[in-house]
Symmetry: C2
DNA sequence: ATTCTAGGCCGAATCGATTCGAAGACGTCC
DNA sequence: GGACGTCTTCGAATCGATTCGGCCTAGAAT
């Protein structure tokens, strides 16, 4: 809009231009900006004035990070599309916690996905200017990602990932917690109990929980929670959902509840969103919760629009995120943080009751 | 853990090392990786093999972005702590939309805050390796931020920001929408109507809505929505909340509803979260909604735990984010995208009714 | 057989700042 | 008055890759 009176430079000024204008060397100008190193106040002021006069916007972060070898950015690798993560309250809470945990670094948070299609994203886990990353969830690509990070020398922390690679891991007692929930159902008198599980494999195959799928599965979370349920109900089976969402829970539950004759009296869902879908399916079919069907979830979030106080295994998502953030800080400080395993608590709401009398 | 058999290099291998091992020049090795440029398949394979042998993790993104002048990262500037944004469903929805909008770029999303304390964060709006940014909300620091971005030549898009600087802006009809909501209340018969507004100034001063605060305010959203209400109720006043949260709405409403004699028959809240707080305050005080108090919100989100179907001005948050993302794509393509103004729709729920008969 | 063409590869410059060792200026102490 | 120490400043190397112009060679065209 305004004419630039004395700006012959077509491109943006660099630190060298500022230095020239201030009559000092580039190194001195650099010191004036970064503050490290002894520079007289007079010189410093001259440099800053020159910068202002030239409209210099400060050191280029790209050049700076190349030279310094760090970018001040921490990556968060989501196993799904970023969009999807924003819809999952558990993920949001973890991000929240991570933010809190890495606050001392003053670092930015870069959201990444690990879809496995290298060409698709300009910035992916293999090529992102991050100083460290937090891996959320255990995608099947995890091993590949970890290998890539290792080669690049980028420290990483995993949340709920079965890395087996010596990364610090932040997890919860998936097995024990589900066992506790299942035991609660057993004590209520339930014997016909079914599962709605999280995806087992990379393809997020949905459908009946078959032994093959169980075997081929790579998702530790789904597997551990299943194992916990099996301790109480050795023959328990059910449906595998394609994701943690109300919609998927709805579909899975429709399949489980279709036949009144074989219908379970209780369903263990591996997430609260799935549980909400199960309850919705029950409503559709005119099945009363908890009178005719008990439902137990996992996570301990509030689900939009759900009228029930869900019985669930409440996990400290924010604390998990925070622990992961703190582990990152620790790693960057050259330490070797321990893995952390949180415990979930059984919250008894109004979606569980003794099975209907026959 | 494992001994590195033939790795004399103490530090990580670089492209030059790979090139040397493969017996080609660095430039050829670069071409082999980036794919651009004519390289014979044989040579390319030799380079890739050498890289694998050396455990080379691919080109350093820092060096690459320095040379190329872009980083493949889009920044999102939140006016509050990142944590806070995760608690606000409107923000989440916008982030969701932005993600969708910039998907064609394959860029990463870097979350930034603009607190104004330059030293606090290693990576802030003044020094983040971003190709473009989306500014969400109109912080008072906005002008400073925009100036910094302009100097650095980083294109930006503002959502709900009164930039006045020629940036593409994504907004909604705050004024008209609130006017419509207020008019609805007037037609129901309300005359004693009060406001619970969003913060007006940088300090997020809360308390009674005074003319001074109105004047000093820099927050365009709060101001526009206020002006819309004034068109219907010229003398309307109320409380200013310190943020968009249930807690703040609760506090503000307590003040408004304290005195039964002067109590309003309707409250216009400038966000749904605030409205939820208002309703909670009414519950506390034993005031029936909507029989004794009508409440109208703004946003059109679902509020956790709110039993009512809130009457509100429903705005397309996801679409706003998407539009912002698309504008970024357009800007990076060298075009000049237009500003976009969405319209909100009045959703009539069960929190509004005619005023109680006197 | 000679010239032209084009694919394939290399050398060197470049991106913009940071960092470290050394040199200069200035004042103090012996 | 000279040696020494400190405070500033400078020069040059470095970070790791990309890119552009040019050179070389093999095959095609005349």
């Amino acid at each position: 809009m305004q004419p630039e009176p004395a700006a012959p430079a077509a491109s943006r000024p660099t630190l060298a231009d500022v230095a020239a204008k201030a009559g000092v060397s580039a190194s001195t100008a650099s010191l004036a900006f970064s503050g490290s190193g002894p520079v007289s106040d007079a010189t410093k002021q001259r440099v800053l004035d020159a910068a202002a006069a030239l409209g210099y916007g400060g050191p280029d972060p790209r050049a700076r990070s190349l030279r310094q070898g760090r970018s001040g950015i921490v990556g968060v690798v989501l196993e799904e599309r970023v969009r999807a993560a924003f819809l999952d309250p558990v993920k949001i809470q973890m991000l929240d916690g991570i933010t809190e945990g890495i606050a001392p670094l003053g670092a930015g948070l870069l959201l990444l996905t690990d879809t496995g299609e290298p060409g698709e994203n300009a910035v992916n886990i293999e090529s992102a200017p991050v100083d460290a990353v937090v891996l959320i969830g255990c995608s099947p690509r995890l091993a590949v990602s970890i290998e890539a990070l290792r080669r690049r020398g980028i420290p990483a922390v995993a949340i709920e990932g079965d890395t087996g690679e010596g990364l610090p891991e932040i997890s919860i007692d998936n097995h024990q917690a589900t066992r506790r929930g299942a035991d609660y159902l057993r004590k209520l008198g339930h014997t016909r109990v079914a599962l709605v599980t999280l995806p087992f494999d990379a393809a997020r195959t949905r459908g009946p929980l078959t032994p093959e799928l169980e075997q081929s599965g790579t998702a530790a979370t789904a597997r551990d929670r299943l194992a916990g349920a099996r301790e109480i109900f050795p023959d328990i089976t059910g449906q595998v959902a394609g994701a943690s969402s109300i919609e998927e829970g709805l579909e899975a539950a429709r399949a489980l509840l279709a036949d009144p004759a074989t219908r379970p009296t209780a369903i263990i869902a591996q997430s609260d969103l799935l549980a909400a879908g199960v309850i919705r399916a029950a409503e559709e079919l005119g099945i009363a919760v908890p009178a005719e069907l008990s439902v137990i979830g996992f996570d301990g979030i509030r689900v939009d629009g759900l009228q029930h106080d869900l019985t669930t295994l409440s996990q400290p998502s924010v604390a998990k995120g925070r622990a992961a953030g703190e582990a990152v800080v620790s790693l960057l400080a050259g330490e070797s943080p321990e893995s952390v395993c949180f415990t979930s608590t059984l919250h008894v709401g109004d979606t569980t009751a003794p099975p209907p009398a026959r």
